[in-house]
Every structure is written in structure tokens, then in C-alpha cells.
Amino acid sequence: MSPAWLLRRLLLMAYTLLVVSILVFAITQILPADAAVTMLGQDATPAALAALRAKLGLADPVWLQFWHWFSAVLRGDFGISMRTGLPVGPTMLTALSRSLLLAVCSLSLMLVIAIPLGVLAALRQGRALDLAVGLISYLGISLPEFVTATLVLVVLADRLQWLPATGYVPPSEHLLDGIRHLVAPVLTVSLVLIAHVSRMMRSETIDVLASDYVLAADLKGLAPPTVLLRHVMRNALLPVISVVALDVGYLLGGIIVVEEIFAIPGIGRALLVAIQNRDLPAIQAGALIMAATYAVVNLLADIAYAVLDPRLRYG
């Protein structure tokens, strides 16, 4: 991993974001909605609509509209929400910070639980522990989030009254209350992740355990913990990193349901509201910011991949 390689990756990331910008802009162009109607609402007169269309430049050629939007984005200006009249950039970044908090908490909980669980299950293949882990992960992976979220809600908030049912309090404002409000959504989100990753970890570990070089290490007389650490973990972690990077995409986008149920004003919910309201600047900003976050995480995953598996060389 040379500096040149890193620089190349950064350039490629910029290219990725350019492609995403074009894609996102294209999608917002074909979404069935009329920007002027969205902004002025039910009581607009035809004359007012026509005036606004002219002001927004909706009659301009698409490439010119794209350029106006894109050059503003490069200056950090994502535009004004059609619904609220507030600048969408700062709104979306605030929302992102909350989603990231939720994502980081869920990922951490997942890593702490899923990796040991997967390895243990692989080592105890076919035994009671393996079956129990299997059952739990099957359940976690097979129930839709709104079912698990509802279960968490019914059990922890309604029955036991341990946690608040819904709502978000910034931990920076009120640490304890903020954490209390985060527990239920984090549990819901990490349940799916744990199920997904422990399965992957188990199957990869079994694979590596059966491979020639672990057998060779065994023959060389290396102690089992050393084998486990040096070979098994390292090789099994590779696909897991791939899956975790994928799951960040799930986390950023797919927690929409969780954010909706637990009323967390994260970027998923902000985007959902934007899509439902056809608030085009908000959709563009939200999708682009989300994509940028994802691209950064992906880059980190690729770096980790390269560090862990020197066999892979990038052309």
C-alpha cells in the first residue's frame, strides 16, 4: 500500500462521487413530481406556478440544470428544501451525525458479539452451542425489522418499562437520557447485523480451518490458539470485512424503518420524508451525503483488505 496507491484510490473516490451525482440527479429528474407544485402546494394558481418554474430554471436544458446544481454543490451549497425552506446541506449533515451515532453503536455491539460467536460456533461445529447460535442467527436474519423493532418495543418499553418507547435525545444535551433513548434502536439494528455476520464468520472459519495451510500449521505443531489467531482469524476476516462494508450500506439506508419507529431524526428518515414529499434538493443532498459516507467506509474496507491479504495486488 503505497502513497501513490492511496492517492489513486482518493481520485477514484472522487470519480465515484461524480457518477453518484449524475445518477442521483438523473433519478430526481424522472421522479414523478412537479417541483413547482411541491413548493407552492395545493393552493397555487397557474400563474404563480409558471413564474416559479421560470425562476427555478425548470425550462433549462437538463445538462445546464445539472451544472447549476453541481457547481453549487462543489461550493458546499446543496440548495433550499422545497418543503421547509431551510438549507438542506446542514439539515442532512445533522441527520447524518445521528445516523452515524446509531450505526457506530450498532456496529460496535455487533463486532463484540458476532465475531466471537461465529468462531466459537465453528470450533464447536455440530454441538449444542453451534446449534443455539445457529438458531438465534437464523431468527435474527429471518424476521423483518418492523417485527423485531415491535418486539423490542413491546417487551422493553411496554411490559418492563425499562426504556422509553420512542424519541431521540442528543447525548450531547443529556447524556443519560440520550443513551436510554438509543438502546432500543441499537438493539434492533444490531440483532440483524449479529445474525448476518456471525453466520458469515462461522462459515468462513470452518472454511479456513479445513484449508491446507491450517492443516500444515497443525502438522508444524503450532498451538491451537496461535493457529486460530494467525491464520483462521486473518483469513476468515477478509470476507467479513466485505460483508461489514456492505452492512454499512444497509445501516445507512436500511435503518429507515428503525428510525421511523423509534422517531430518530437520522438521514434515513430525512430521506424517506424527502422522497415521500418529492423534496428534490433534499433527496439529492441526502443521497449524495450518504453515498460519500459509504464511499469513505468502503475505502477504509479496501485498505483493511489490502493490509490483511498481501496476495491481492491492485493493478
Partner: protein
């Protein structure tokens, strides 16, 4: 193929998964024949009927028989999810394997484009595509396929890259075999096992993604008895009529578990290392 099936059924997961999915398949084929009621028939007095003699699995807010809706709903739920996954996997696997084989610039170009698409999270793509196409089962299906394809391509590529290092590909190249032959005869089958594992997980995901799209109003259209739609319809009545969530939720869960078990079984049966 016969060999694989035989070995698949010998693994406990494979046998169990196949059994579960056989039941699901039977329901898909014959469900409407054994359903006691018309799934759309409302019954005012039977609203929220508790599971019992008249309605084995209870009735919903419109008095529709939950059992009949479940049996009819299998067709609206399982085949589309399967189809969406298949389409997404196929597209992704082909692109991913080609990229890994081509290597160099082509690999870069393909993977950067895929990265770009993947940088937009799957559910968001599905939501945007479904919103653009208009609500409906077809739109949701296509949306899920599109959302799945890049991820599958990436996974296939990372597996294929590792496979590419293996001796038999080098051997094939040394034998002077053509590129396409190497891709289809050597790399694809060897890359298949992890892809199959991943895509069976994704069938379950697809069922849930369908449900989520229905939950968000861009999936199956009422009064369809699509299971995801049934869960989201029933959610509002959770405290009064929990079976409206539990019954279709369990149906989704069991189907998903079936696919997961089958995938694990297949994984063991297909493992090329086990062959050698």
C-alpha cells in the same frame, strides 16, 4: 447435479431446509385450492375474530380469513422475492466474475462503476426505483434486483480474485484455454459456493425488503395478501390482534429460515475443497 442433491440431502441443514421449502412450494402451488375462504371476502361480524374453529388463524380488521390470505399470499410473496434475487445474483455474478478475470483497467472501470452504484444504499435505490416506476409488485421486484446486483458483483469478484490465484486457473491459462472458457468452465463454478450461500441469505432479505417496500407504500398493492403487506397492515392492531403480525411474520420467518438452511446445506454440498 444428482450428486450434489444427494449430498445436500445428507446434511441436516440441507434436508431440513429442503423440507421447509417443499412445504412452501406446495403452498404456492396448491394454497388457493385448500384455502377455506376467498381471501378478499370481508365479514363485518368476523372482524378481529380470534383464531378458532371458524377462522383457524383468526381474521383481520376487515374480517378477512387470515389462513386463506396466508395461503393465497404465498404466491404473491415467495416467487417474486426468488425471482428478484435470481435476477440480481445472475447479473452481479456475471459482472463480478468478468471483472475479476479481465483484471487491470477493465476490472477498475467495472468496479468503480459498481462502487458508484453501491455507494447508494440498497434500500434507497429500491425506494427511488420503486417510486419512479410507481407502486406495484413489478416495480418492487425490479428495484430489489437492481439493488442486489452490485453487492453480488462485489462479493463474486472478491471470491473470484482469490480463486484466480489458485493453481487450476493458472493451469488452464497454461493449457492455452480461451478467456470465456476459463470464466465459465473454471472460475464460475468455483466461485459459485460462496455466491450461493450469499444469495440464499438474500432471498430471505428479498422477502423482507419486499415487506419493507410494502410497509413504506411502494410495494404490493392492497388488497393483495402479500405477507409483508399483511404484517404492515396488522402492525397497527398489534395490541388487540397480535396474530395479524405473528402469522404472516412467522410465515416470512419460516420461509427465510428455509432458504438459509438450504443455502448452508448447499454450501457444504458444493464445497469444491471437499471434492478434492
Amino acid at each position: 447435479m444428482v450428486e450434489v442433491t444427494r449430498r445436500l440431502l445428507r446434511t441436516p441443514q440441507g434436508a431440513l431446509g429442503a423440507a421447509v421449502l417443499a412445504v412452501v412450494a406446495l403452498v404456492c402451488l396448491f394454497g388457493p385450492l385448500i384455502a377455506p375462504y376467498d381471501p378478499e371476502q370481508m365479514d363485518f361480524l368476523g372482524r378481529f375474530a380470534v383464531p378458532g374453529a371458524h377462522h383457524w388463524l383468526g381474521a383481520d380488521q376487515l374480517g378477512r380469513d387470515e389462513m386463506s390470505r396466508l395461503l393465497y399470499g404465498a404466491r404473491a410473496t415467495v416467487p417474486p422475492a426468488l425471482l428478484a434475487t435470481l435476477a440480481g445474483t445472475l447479473a452481479g455474478a456475471i459482472v463480478g466474475t468478468l471483472a475479476a478475470f479481465a483484471g487491470g483497467r477493465w476490472d477498475e472501470a467495472i468496479m468503480r462503476t459498481i462502487d458508484a452504484v453501491m455507494a447508494i444504499p440498497g434500500l434507497l435505490i429500491a425506494l427511488l426505483v420503486a417510486s419512479t416506476l410507481g407502486a406495484g409488485e413489478g416495480g418492487a421486484l425490479l428495484a430489489i434486483a437492481i439493488a442486489f446486483a452490485p453487492g453480488m458483483a462485489r462479493i463474486t469478484r472478491s471470491v473470484a480474485l482469490a480463486v484466480r490465484q489458485e493453481d487450476y486457473v493458472a493451469a488452464a491459462i497454461a493449457r492455452g484455454e480461451t478467456g470465456l472458457r476459463i470464466v465459465f468452465a473454471e472460475m464460475l463454478p468455483n466461485a459459485l459456493a460462496p455466491v450461493v450461500v450469499e444469495s440464499t441469505i438474500r432471498v430471505a432479505f428479498a422477502v423482507m425488503l419486499m415487506a419493507t417496500l410494502s410497509f413504506l407504500g411502494v410495494g404490493a398493492q392492497p388488497p393483495a395478501s402479500e405477507w409483508g403487506l399483511m404484517v404492515s397492515d396488522g402492525r397497527g392492531y398489534l395490541h388487540d390482534a397480535p396474530w395479524l403480525v405473528i402469522v404472516p411474520g412467522l410465515a416470512i420467518g419460516i420461509t427465510a429460515i428455509g432458504f438459509n438452511l438450504l443455502g448452508d446445506g448447499l454450501r457444504d454440498a458444493l464445497n469444491p475443497r471437499g471434492e478434492r
